[in-house]
Amino acid sequence: MAAVSAAFVRFASLKPGSWSNQTNGVTSGVKFVTIGTSKLSLLSLRYSRFRVHCAAKPETVNKVIDIVKKQLALSDDTSLTPESKFSSLGADSLDTVEIVMCLEEEFDISVDEDNSQNITTVQDAADLIEKLVLQKAEAA
């Protein structure tokens, strides 16, 4: 798991209501959950039920899919999922940098080369975008 190596990760829910449906008992008033954890337990966290709520929002994933479809000239009925790998879609290096540039413009973020090397799937891109958007909002 190359994209995240930080010792802790902040998960932000921008829709307080989305937490209230969960069985973990977090109330709807909670906006941020800060978890300090080792990398190993971070991995297990990712694959537990927390992952569904802490992965990128569907709107972000859909925007990524739209941009990728446009860049690779895929037909509208081509099915792209969050798990779709860029390399399996026939994207070459020029496609990839074009996609990254479009994502930067769409979300008003800056992706450095280290980060962009680690993006292999649509989900990776969406997760990274939300992380960068969040970092930018916090820095402001």
């Binding site: 446009k70 399996s88 879609l89 026939g90 020029l94 940098v97 540039m101 930067e104 080369e113 962009s116």
Partner: protein, 321 residues
């Protein structure tokens, strides 16, 4: 003595027979003599020319289990075909340079610590006697594999007519060095600008791939490719407008970005641009260092190999001796 083998542990006879048929249905590959120190060899395949489904199936059988699994994850027949051809091109090309003593399916690959693929020299009891260096590049319409001995090589190919989806100067501003942005901005005609962009792009890609440090190890904006007009031409009073040398400038304090690399840019098959980058030989003197010897073959492995050097299919743009 108890039966050591249960009947169900033996492979089905029909499987054995069909597998042997597959292995022996492919003729042997002609061996290729090794490139000399200053030489790069380029083999390319045109996916559209493969129409035989049974040949594609034979090709698939040359792949490792891991490669076969990767192919399964690719959606779409055209993309699958290109992926298979890409692996087959590498494996068969490498095999040729072992005098065909090493079967294509036997090669094993590893990645260096930055992710650049390399071939293992020890394959079971076999030892590949030459230090073969290779690099692949593909577009949907052509796949190419560059080979050298000992010397790191990087190649990149692009369709000549490829038009980036985004604005060229925006892409250049985002990714290229300031000098290169200015260079591109100096072209008023959009088609010329597009063509120059692709030349810079393929050369920069070839350099990064030759260095083998990954995209983040050699950020595009940290080095400049420029074209220097050649002062030495065959007919001094009539220099050809295309005559120029490809130069690279790297930041003076950069440890990782070295400048002792030579470049060549060629037009392949009338349709593609190919950039080749290989390390300079310090033993060569002066201007000899600047030119690269290139031999090119077009192939459909096991079907046809055609030497394309010295033909119209390989047009030197810059850098070839």
């Amino acid at each position: 003595m108890r039966r050591l083998l249960r009947g169900d542990m033996l492979p089905l006879l029909s499987n054995l027979v069909s597998r042997r048929l597959v292995i022996s249905s492919l003729p042997s590959l002609p061996p290729a003599p090794l490139p000399s120190r200053r030489e790069a060899h380029l083999w390319y395949v045109v996916p559209n020319e493969l129409e035989d489904a049974s040949l594609l199936q034979d090709y698939r059988e040359l792949l490792s289990p891991c490669e076969k699994e990767n192919i399964l994850s690719i959606k779409g027949e055209a993309l699958k075909k290109c992926a298979i051809l890409s692996r087959v091109l590498v494996r068969t090309t490498l095999s040729r340079y072992t005098d065909c003593k090493v079967n294509p399916r036997l090669f094993k690959f590893r990645k260096n610590r930055f992710g650049k693929p390399e071939v293992e020299r020890q394959i079971g009891a076999l030892w590949v006697s030459s230090s073969l260096q290779f690099n692949i590049s593909h577009t949907s319409s052509m796949i190419a594999c560059g080979i050298t001995v000992d010397v790191p090589i990087g190649i990149d190919i692009e369709e000549k007519q490829r038009k980036p989806v985004n604005n060229i100067l925006s892409l250049a501003h985002r990714y290229f060095s300031p000098y290169e942005v200015q260079y591109l901005a100096s072209f008023m005609d959009p088609e010329t600008q597009q063509s120059e962009f692709l030349r810079l792009w393929t050369l920069k890609e070839a350099y990064v791939k030759a260095l083998g440090r990954g995209f983040s190890g050699a950020p595009f904006r940290d080095f400049t490719i420029r074209f220097e007009k050649s002062t030495d031409s065959v007919v001094p009073e009539q220099p050809k407008s295309e005559e120029f040398r490809i130069m690279i400038d790297t930041a003076f304090d950069s440890e990782n970005l070295t400048a002792n690399w030579q470049f060549a840019l060629v037009e392949l098959g009338g349709s593609h641009l190919a950039a080749i980058c290989m390390e300079k030989d310090e033993n060569m003197s002066g201007t000899e260092q600047d030119f690269l010897k290139l031999k090119v073959w077009k192939t459909l492995p096991y079907v046809e190999d055609k030497c394309m050097s010295e033909t119209d299919a390989v047009k030197n743009i810059s850098g070839l001796s």
